[in-house]
Symmetry: C2
Subunit: 199 residues, 2 copies
C-alpha cells in the first residue's frame, strides 16, 4: 500500500517475511516495537545481531552453539559411541529434557523432502557418515519425526550406514504415555501392537 512511512513499511515487510507471520501480524508486531519504551527496539535488534554473530554449528554434531564444539560433544561423560540423529536443535532439547540419554547427537538441519527440493546434499548427512567412518561409533539411533519425510530420511541414512559395522536403530513407536486408546490413531495403534513387549 505504501501509505506508511518507508521505515515502517520496511519493518513490516521484514516481520512478514518470517514464517507463520502474515501481513496483519507483521503490522501488529511493528507497531508494538515502535510503542516500546526508549531503547527497547534497539535491544531487540541487538539480540538479533548478537545471535547471528555468536552462534554457529558445532564442528562435531552440527547443533547450534556459541563455541567451536557444543557443550554436549565437549562433555567427557557423554558416550561418543552412540549418536542420536535428529532433524533439528529443538529435537535435541526435547530428548535432553527426558534426561534419559547419555550419548551424543547429530543434527541434520532438515529432512529429505523431494516436494521441497531438499536432497541429501542439503542436510548434514555427509557429516554424519564422516563421523561414523571415523570408527569410534557403535550405534546410531534414528530419531527423526515419525512422519513420512522423517521416515524416508531415517531409511535413507540407515542404508548409507549399512557398510559400517554398527547398529542402526529407530525410536520405538507406540501409544504416548498419558494418552488414551480412544484417541490414538489407527497407524499408531498398529505400530503399538506390532511392537508389543513382554511384561
Amino acid at each position: 500500500m505504501g501509505l506508511f512511512p518507508a521505515a515502517l513499511e520496511v519493518l513490516i515487510e521484514k516481520f512478514a517475511s518470517l514464517p507463520g507471520i502474515g501481513q496483519k501480524s507483521a503490522q501488529r508486531l511493528a507497531f508494538h516495537l515502535l510503542a516500546l519504551p526508549e531503547g527497547e527496539a534497539e535491544s531487540f535488534a541487538a539480540a538479533v545481531i548478537g545471535a547471528a554473530r555468536d552462534l554457529r554449528l558445532c564442528g562435531v554434531c552440527q547443533n547450534i552453539t556459541d563455541a567451536d564444539v557444543c557443550l554436549i560433544c565437549g562433555n567427557d561423560r557423554r558416550d561418543k559411541g552412540v549418536i542420536c540423529v535428529v532433524a533439528d536443535p529443538k529435537s535435541v532439547m526435547a530428548i535432553e529434557r527426558s534426561r534419559e540419554y547419555g550419548g551424543v547427537y547429530h543434527v541434520l538441519h532438515g529432512v529429505l523432502s523431494p516436494m521441497n527440493h531438499i536432497g541429501p546434499d542439503d542436510i548434514k548427512i555427509k557429516e554424519l557418515v564422516a563421523r561414523v567412518a571415523d570408527g569410534e561409533v557403535s550405534e546410531v539411533i534414528m530419531a527423526t519425526n515419525p512422519d513420512t519425510e522423517g521416515e524416508t530420511t531415517a531409511r535413507y541414512i540407515s542404508r548409507l550406514l549399512r557398510p559400517f559395522d554398527i547398529k542402526v536403530t529407530r525410536l520405538a513407536y507406540g501409544i504416548p504415555v498419558g494418552s488414551s486408546l480412544e484417541f490414538t490413531d489407527d497407524a499408531t495403534l498398529m505400530r503399538a501392537l506390532a511392537g508389543r513387549q513382554e511384561m
Copy 2:
C-alpha cells in the same frame, strides 16, 4: 530451560516478548533467522533500528510518520476543518483505502479502558482538544471501533468537545456491504434498523 547457547536464549526471549508470540513460535522464529543467508539477520535488525530511529508522531494528528508533519496533514488539498478521530494508525490506513475521505485525522493511540488502566491522559485526547480549541475545526467524526471501549471513548470525547461550536458525528452503524442478514448479529441488525434511511 537454558540448554540453548545464551545468544539464542536471548533472541528467543525477545521474540516471545512480542504480542501473540508464544515460546514455541519464538523458537521457530529465532531458528529461522539463524538459518537465513549471511547478512539477512543483520538486515532484519537494521530495519528495527531504522524504524525506531526514523519514526515519530506527527506533530498535528499524532499519526506515525518520518517527518515533523505527516503526508496527510501536510497535504494542501485535505480539508483541515474536518477531523476523523481513530484509535490507531491502522484505522487511518483502512479509511484511506476507501478513498472517500478528504479531511484529516487524529490518532488517539488507544482507547479508554478502565480494565487495562488506560485513562484519558494515556491516549492523545489533550492533543485533540487543543486542535479543536485552535478554532479552525468545523466537524469531528468519531471513528473508534464499534466495541464497548471504542464507544466509551467516542462518548467521552464528544462530551469534552461539547463546549466548542462544532459538529461531532459518529460513523454509521449497519449491515456490512456484501454480508448476509442471516449472519449479522442482533446488535448490528438493531442499529441498522434504527438508522434506516429513505431510498
